[in-house]
């Protein structure tokens, strides 16, 4: 790890709530241009780790390093020019249009509202998630998937404006960005994220769909009970033993000879058998 130039790194990060440990001693780095997926069952500490690395929660011990600096000393404004975050769910009860929500991502203060460069960045981000025809629609009238894509566009807009005007925009953190998308829009969003990574952005995202993660991520990090139990390329980290242990459920991993990307299916018969045995 020492020769890696991680633009975002958790160093022995632990997080506790009332003496219950949610994340313990997590070490995780993301390099520029790399896409890292965090996998694991519900309650494994994935979202908590993401929130700590986003600066939203302060670690009980350990530290998070962002672009070479300790996150704890960065001000909210400085941090926003380095990284963007898409939360798992965020509702909005005021009737902003899609364009207005995406424009909220412009995190460099003091820019005039009708700055043509800003407007271009906003329109571009909306187009990248396939919402060009929706830019004037009210957010409150969108479907769940359209709302999710609007928030992703807002984050992409935040990064591109920060990159153009402030030399930042290096990190993107997402919590289950494809959870309410149909398969076609999953592809649209993941391809947009891949292009963002190709432009040099470090991407860390929590995912639930193991097969999507295997096909898309450069690296996967597998968590269980607050600990990282595996970290590596999908081909190496996603083994039957590790996944079955993490999810506490027998899983079968297949590898098509064509590309060797693992695919995971639950071994249903065995799961029933295992449950029966436990009873």
């Amino acid at each position: 790890m020492s020769d890696r130039a991680d633009v975002l790194a958790a160093q022995s990060v632990s997080y506790r709530v009332h003496d219950v440990s949610l994340v313990s001693k997590a070490d995780l780095g993301v390099a520029a241009g790399e896409v890292v997926a965090v996998l694991g069952p519900n309650g494994a500490g994935k979202s908590t780790l993401l929130k700590v690395m986003a600066g939203e929660l302060s670690p009980a011990s350990g530290r998070v390093v962002v672009d070479g600096r300790d996150l704890a000393i960065l001000k909210a404004g400085e941090l926003a020019r380095l990284r963007a975050v898409v939360a798992q769910s965020s509702n909005l009860s005021f009737p902003f249009t899609v364009r207005e929500v995406v424009r909220l991502g412009v995190s460099v203060p003091g820019l005039s509202r009708e700055n043509p460069r800003i407007e271009r960045a906003v329109g571009d981000a909306i187009g990248r998630v396939g919402l060009a025809a929706f830019s004037g629609r009210l957010f409150t009238e969108l479907s769940g998937g359209e709302r999710q894509r609007t928030h992703i566009a807002r984050a992409l807009c935040q990064l591109s404006v920060a990159r153009d005007l402030a030399g930042g925009g290096k990190i993107l953190l997402l919590d289950e960005p494809t959870s309410s998308l149909d398969v076609g829009h999953q592809v649209v969003v993941l391809e947009a994220l891949r292009r963002e990574a190709d432009a040099g952005t470090a991407i860390l995202m929590v995912m639930h769909d193991l097969n999507l993660a295997a096909a898309f991520a450069d690296r996967v990090v597998i968590m269980s009970h607050g600990c990282i139990i595996a970290d590596g390329p999908p081909r190496q980290a996603m083994t039957e033993a590790i996944l079955s242990r993490a999810y506490e459920c027998p899983l079968s991993v297949g590898r098509p000879p064509a590309d060797g990307i693992p695919f995971v299916i639950p071994a249903l018969g065995q799961a029933k058998a295992a449950k029966g045995a436990r009873l």
Partner: protein
């Protein structure tokens, strides 16, 4: 019935474009109408009253204020300078403060029905004012002795700030202010203040009871330059603060975590907004008594017309809030002349039907 659409026709995109709100145009219309309403109500407020100064006579009365003109213009100038002008300025400041405070509370509570009452300013101010009215010769005598005729507004201002300060302390833990805790503690303190006011009303004699009832209904009848000077610093500071709060309030509508992700120092902004709201509303209530409704209805109307962007909502609310209170004050002065109706009643009577009409016409969204 068969559809006339050809197979594969793309109707959805056209349909969606048709529904696009043109925010720039909406903003322009809103600002123009608000500014016009403010100008018209301000001029009428200067001209209408016990001594009518006709609109034709208004310019000569204004020049007479600076020492030029005949005897009648001079008398009008005196009325204008000592009575109408402070009252008009005070009405505009009170309206602007209340409307902007409402918009800011709706922003930090992420709720279109929030108002400054949630942070205890009005109940604190009312309790202090009622205490001075009822116990002015008892426990509150030192306050009356120290501030004389200004004891009531000074006490109301201090009471409003004190209750909000207490609330913020109660709702804070580990250097963060919890909006949910603020809401709950606000309800409790509000109920407590209400109970204490009930107790004071029970202890009061008939004259005090009438005084305190009228005070809680609001009035600008006692306007003076002293009150203008008392309120102006808070109103002006509050208005100067607005451009700095636009981006933060917009971000806060997405949620506190999202606002932080967007680079907003959420805790600092929340405190700043609470302090600014408490100070400006306490000053407004101290000068004019309790005037409800402005803080909810004005920002709501503004959002219905031009959307929830605070770059529009804050300045338009300031102008429209000022215009609403000016208009209500004019009605209060003339409807039962030579007596005056309490301002709070008029605001509610004008505002409620307009509000209802807009909500029913434009659909349920805020």
């Amino acid at each position: 019935m068969t559809s006339k659409l050809p197979a594969g026709a793309i109707v959805s995109a056209e349909h969606m474009r048709a529904a696009e709100p043109d925010r720039a145009q909406q903003r322009f219309v809103l600002f123009a109408v608000s500014a016009l309403a403010l100008a018209v109500t301000a001029v009428l407020s200067l001209s209408i009253g016990a001594t009518g100064i006709s609109l034709d006579a208004l310019p000569s009365a204004i020049t007479a204020m600076f020492g030029d003109g005949d005897a009648e213009s001079a008398r009008s100038a005196l009325v204008l300078l000592d009575i109408r002008l402070p009252r008009t300025i005070l009405a505009a400041m009170v309206g602007a403060c209340l409307a902007v405070a409402g918009a800011m509370m709706q922003g930090i509570f992420r709720n279109p029905l929030a108002d400054p009452g949630l942070i205890g300013v009005s109940s604190g101010a009312a309790l202090a004012a009622v205490t001075v009215i009822v116990l002015g010769h008892g426990i509150a005598a030192p306050v009356v002795a120290a501030f004389g005729v200004h004891a009531l507004p000074v006490a109301a201002f201090a009471g409003g700030l004190a209750v909000t300060g207490t609330l913020v302390v109660l709702a804070s833990s580990r250097r963060t202010v919890s909006v949910a805790a603020l809401l709950l503690a606000g309800l409790v303190l509000g109920a407590l203040a209400q109970a204490l006011m009930g107790l004071l009303a029970y202890l009061s004699d008939d004259r005090e009871l009438r005084d305190l009832t009228l005070w809680t209904l609001g009035s600008l009848a006692g306007s003076s330059w002293t009150k203008v000077i008392g309120v102006a610093p808070f109103a002006v500071l509050n208005l100067l603060l607005l451009p700095y709060l636009v981006r933060a309030l917009n971000g806060l509508l997405l949620g506190e975590a999202e606002a932080f992700h967007l680079g907003i120092d959420v805790e600092r902004i929340k405190r700043l907004i609470i302090i600014a709201t408490a100070a400006s509303v306490a000053a407004a209530v101290a000068a004019a008594g309790i005037i409800g409704f402005v803080g909810i209805i004005v920002p709501h109307v503004v959002r219905l017309v031009a959307g929830p962007d605070h770059g529009t909502v804050l300045p338009a609310s300031a102008m429209l809030g000022a215009a609403l209170v000016l208009a209500a004050d004019i009605v209060a002065r003339i409807i039962v002349a030579p007596a005056e109706l309490p301002l709070g009643i008029v605001v509610a009577l004008i505002g409620a039907p307009v509000f209802l009409h807009l909500v029913l016409r434009r659909g349920a969204y805020v």
